[in-house]
Symmetry: C2
Subunit: 253 residues, 2 copies
Amino acid sequence: MIKVVLIGSGNVAHHLIKAFAKSATAEVIQVFARQKESLIPLLDALKITDNFHDLIEADLYIISVSDDAIANVSSQLPFENRLVVHTSGSVSLDGLDKKNKKGIFYPLQTFTKNKTVDFSQIPICLESENETDFELLKNVADSISNAVFKINSQQRKVLHVSAVFVNNFVNHLYQMGNEICIENNVPFEILKPLILETANKVMTLSPKEAQTGPAKRNDTKTIEAHLKLLSNENQATIYKILTQSIQNNGKEL
Amino acid sequence: MIKVVLIGSGNVAHHLIKAFAKSATAEVIQVFARQKESLIPLLDALKITDNFHDLIEADLYIISVSDDAIANVSSQLPFENRLVVHTSGSVSLDGLDKKNKKGIFYPLQTFTKNKTVDFSQIPICLESENETDFELLKNVADSISNAVFKINSQQRKVLHVSAVFVNNFVNHLYQMGNEICIENNVPFEILKPLILETANKVMTLSPKEAQTGPAKRNDTKTIEAHLKLLSNENQATIYKILTQSIQNNGKEL
């Protein structure tokens, strides 16, 4: 078994602990966590430490903390020349202290604590400084996911900004739809099957093929009627800009 | 059995024919279509007509044509005082000719020809001029869907504009994410599980609770790095406006 030490106790760390519990290749032998309590249901309390100097020897150290804390945590590790990776989409390889061999182990998904995910479906993006380290990371990742990709730091940045569009911004549009419903006493429930099907469609069609609606058909009558219905300037601004972008097919004017 | 005549041969008409084929309450006894060919695989050719004067007597006539054609089609019907409904989200009850009893039968979903949908999960929004007509519409709708709602014309307009946000605009953001990936040689595939989970999350959490990302956390360093990566002004404008809207929680400044 490949020995893994996890550093962190957030959402990603939680889901990784659960995923590795089913792995036949890699085993979490220790977890570093400032708050032990949240991890107790997941693993033996004896495997949890809150002292960097108690970290035991392992083949791989996975730092899963907030982006801002990665540099500090990696510099505090009391050993050298071991393989240390982080799980962030936006921090580069150089965000890790150079005293250890560096790598990235980035699961691209939105995690919610207490909501189970099928880790085998989650893409894991890997990067390392050399081929040997990459092989080890790939063995570990393959044991918990069916979608493992070699992605360099530049590509990972691109993925991260794309993820902001298809996750953060999409969710904000859900919120705007929800608010328009609430303001007008219409149950948001009615839109839920549409939300799911919209996502499902682009699993097989390209988003460009899947595009429909008044903006796509240049239906100015409906667009004007919609703008009259919107109760605040922010909703109207976003409606206008996205309508224009669809009409220009996402290109600049 | 309640006798239904369908007028139209587009996506919605196709899916309605398939849904009614399984109904124990309502039966499509005739379909009006200018192009008979596309319907031949779905029903007996003898049930298809392209002449309004051949329309037979039925309990319900469902007009499922493009928004712009509804008024014209409803005025051409060679009978009076029967129940005639349309399937549009944006046309009001008055969009139908007043010589017949008017109603709305609006299935709120995005339909793609040749892509099967589970009609029982599709919300159907009903409206009518009187209670008797409503009872008939409800019986028909209940026989093909488990999500039937009484929705007036004003509420339907609100639903339609909300649907533009959560469907048309969301799909456009998928397209932007896809284009950012293509421009940078990153497979869009990697984002697909994230797209599905983003939609799944709001089935149980409110979109507000589900919101994450650099805008939500006010992570200006990441926001600036993302803006540098975007290759065109349109992408950057939409990034900025949606980021600002998330930071203001969808409210005006």
